[in-house]
Amino acid sequence: MDVLVTQVFNGLSGGSILLLAALGLALTFGQMGVINMAHGEFIMAGAYTAFVMQQVLGAAGLSLLVSLPMAFLVGGLLGVLLEATLLRRMYHRPLDTLLVTWGVSLILQQLARDVFGTAGVDVPAPGWLSGPVEVLGFSFPRSRLFILALAIAAVVALSLALRLTPLGRRIRATVQNRQLAESSGISTRRTDVLTFFIGSGLAGVAGVVLTLMGSISSNLGTSYIVDAFLVVIVGGIGQIKGAVIAAFVLGTVQSWVEYSTTASIAKVILLALVVAFLQARPQGIFQVRTRSLA
């Protein structure tokens, strides 16, 4: 029983971290078709934003709350910069965006190493997030619960924004039929930029959250980017709910496999499971029905 509760919680917690890292990708990769390898470095930028905020403000609690919107802004602006300079001319060859953004990610990592040093830096968690919470005799770390709550809040906010706001309507219209959206008077160009801003901003938020998990260094992004892409692939493109389910399923599977084997074996088994899953559903959990051949 003890093991069960701990493992389920670990799965949910791991899944919520995966979800935060993958949510922005679900937007930029899933909806726009751009494979942004620099997404991981936007996460890293968010984490370093939290570090800088803490150096400036001092108080851990206040700086965490300030860092969340700041990191959203930093990540989003980096994304807009990338979109406006490089990606906008590459929408018709999505595979090449992978290599171009890989170059960007190499540069951002080296920049972080040159500015912040190669050693990891710590961002101490505020007092109200340290220590465990006791529920029914089980203790859960407060920081993990905070991450879980934040992940859920981000999903809810994003899906509400997509469903209810004018911007969300424009994004959905552009995704569903670009030409028709354009002829209805929607500026698809501006919609692309805004979508990229939101998606990259979410990466920044994920970065702030990761500072609660341990020290941060320049290779923070690389350790999450592949898993995040796997989440989007398993979830199926074009829909947020696929990413949500996939993140929690992958998180749970990983925590169980890790429990019965080792972390390194777990990675291999997880990849094998993803390949096996794609045999059954090559387009992920949720498939957008189209009449295109694929």
């Binding site: 726009m32 999505p94 190493r113 040159d114 493109i237 993803v274 295109s292 051949l293 694929a294």
Partner: protein, 389 residues
């Protein structure tokens, strides 16, 4: 097809064949006569290392440039070949029933069972040729048959590289962990300390590379090569014509994996070390930049690009350690975004003019240096709409 057209295409095919023959002749003279005479034995060893990377690049050129498969996990196949060779060398150095030195240091349980077959040189050589190709064939069939492709395939191959590196680091008693395997003494009975033997290794690498280029050249001009390009440009149409694109693509992927494995196997005795740093995501994707710069669809471009990039890396990172990463990142950004055909496409403007005069579509496939649209639309146009596979 008028008679004139066929005659013209025959002439240009003949011209292409001569160009290739001359190219191979020049390459052979450079590699076998000029380089050993000009370079010091240290520099010749470095060139041998670049040739190993070039072997991987030949395979990438086939799979990515010709087949449209963005292979981001070639480090895995390179690593399998390299580790197999390294295991055999370690066991051979330890002598019959001996335990390799690093293993004796960190564990007392002796040689793991799955190492034992590689005491035999023949088993090792066969495994180097077979295992990478087999793994690639399995992964290729599993994904291509279900029409998983494009970005999905690229990310899966990248995840494979990540998992492989993590697996190597996680098992230090069997694979040397993050330090990897190094300090080899002999190579199939020859001492690696002897400069004559080291030069012989370089000659082997050069010969293998030329043989690979000949093989890829044959594949390119064969009916199979045409099918592969057709799969890249319009997979659905190939399927409607009655071919199975999954098989066509799997063959190219497996051949590319085999070449990477051979490159890895030769890398070990030439360089003297193999570690997870040579096989993970970063080196795997790093192998692509040379191919992109040289021209991914051409025959010689990937090789020249890979050698040039590896040479630049050695000379740049000697002087500015962090500068190389910036340079690599910039190359990825600028070349792929603004010069997707690589440097080879700069000559295409000249070739294009000639081609309009000849009005012959086979020139591009034959000479491979005058391809006016070297970059395939690897995804259908509607991909932007978010509805792609």
């Amino acid at each position: 097809m008028s008679e004139f057209d066929t005659a013209a295409s025959r002439v240009s095919a003949l011209r292409g064949r001569w160009a290739v023959l001359v190219g191979f002749g020049v390459a052979a003279v450079l590699l076998f006569a000029v380089a050993p005479a000009v370079l010091t034995s240290f520099r010749l060893g470095l060139l041998g290392k670049y040739l190993c990377y070039a072997m991987v690049a030949v395979g990438i050129g086939l799979a990515w440039g010709r087949g449209g498969m963005l292979v981001l996990g070639q480090g895995v196949f390179f690593g399998i070949g390299a580790y197999l060779m390294a295991m055999h060398l370690k066991l051979a150095d330890a002598g019959a029933d001996g335990v390799p030195d690093f293993m004796a240091l960190i564990s007392s349980s002796g040689v793991p069972g799955w190492w034992e077959p590689f005491r035999s040189g023949w088993v090792t050589l066969v495994a180097i040729l077979v295992l990478p190709a087999l793994l690639a064939a399995l992964l290729g069939l599993a994904t291509f048959r279900r029409r998983v492709r494009g970005a999905y395939f690229a990310i899966l191959s990248q995840a494979l590289a990540a998992a492989f590196a993590i697996l190597l680091i996680g098992n230090p008693t069997a694979t040397g962990g993050s330090t990897g395997l190094n300090n080899f003494v002999g190579f199939f009975g020859f001492s690696l300390r002897d400069p004559v033997n080291r030069q012989m290794l370089y000659f082997i690498a050069a010969g293998v590379l030329l043989a690979m280029l000949l093989l890829v050249r044959q594949l390119m001009v064969s009916r199979y090569g045409e099918l592969l390009v057709a799969c890249r440009d319009s997979e659905e149409r190939v399927r409607f014509l009655g071919y199975d694109p999954a098989t066509v693509k799997t063959v190219a992927f497996a051949v590319a994996a085999m070449m990477a494995g051979i490159g890895g196997a030769l890398f070990v005795p030439i360089v003297g070390i193999i570690s997870p740093n040579d096989v993970g995501i970063v080196p795997s994707i790093g192998l692509l930049i040379g191919v992109a710069i040289g021209g991914r669809t051409t025959l010689a471009g990937p090789v020249l690009g890979a050698i040039a990039v590896a040479w630049a890396e050695t000379s740049l990172s000697e002087q500015f350690p962090s500068g190389w990463t910036y340079a690599q990142g910039l190359m990825f950004m600028l070349v792929v975004a603004f010069l997707p055909g690589g440097l080879a496409s700069l000559g295409a403007v000249r070739g294009l003019r000639r081609k309009i005069a000849a009005a012959d579509p086979t020139v591009a496939a034959e000479t491979a240096d005058g391809d006016p649209a070297p970059v395939p639309a690897t995804e259908p146009r509607h991909a932007h709409g978010g509805a792609q596979a």
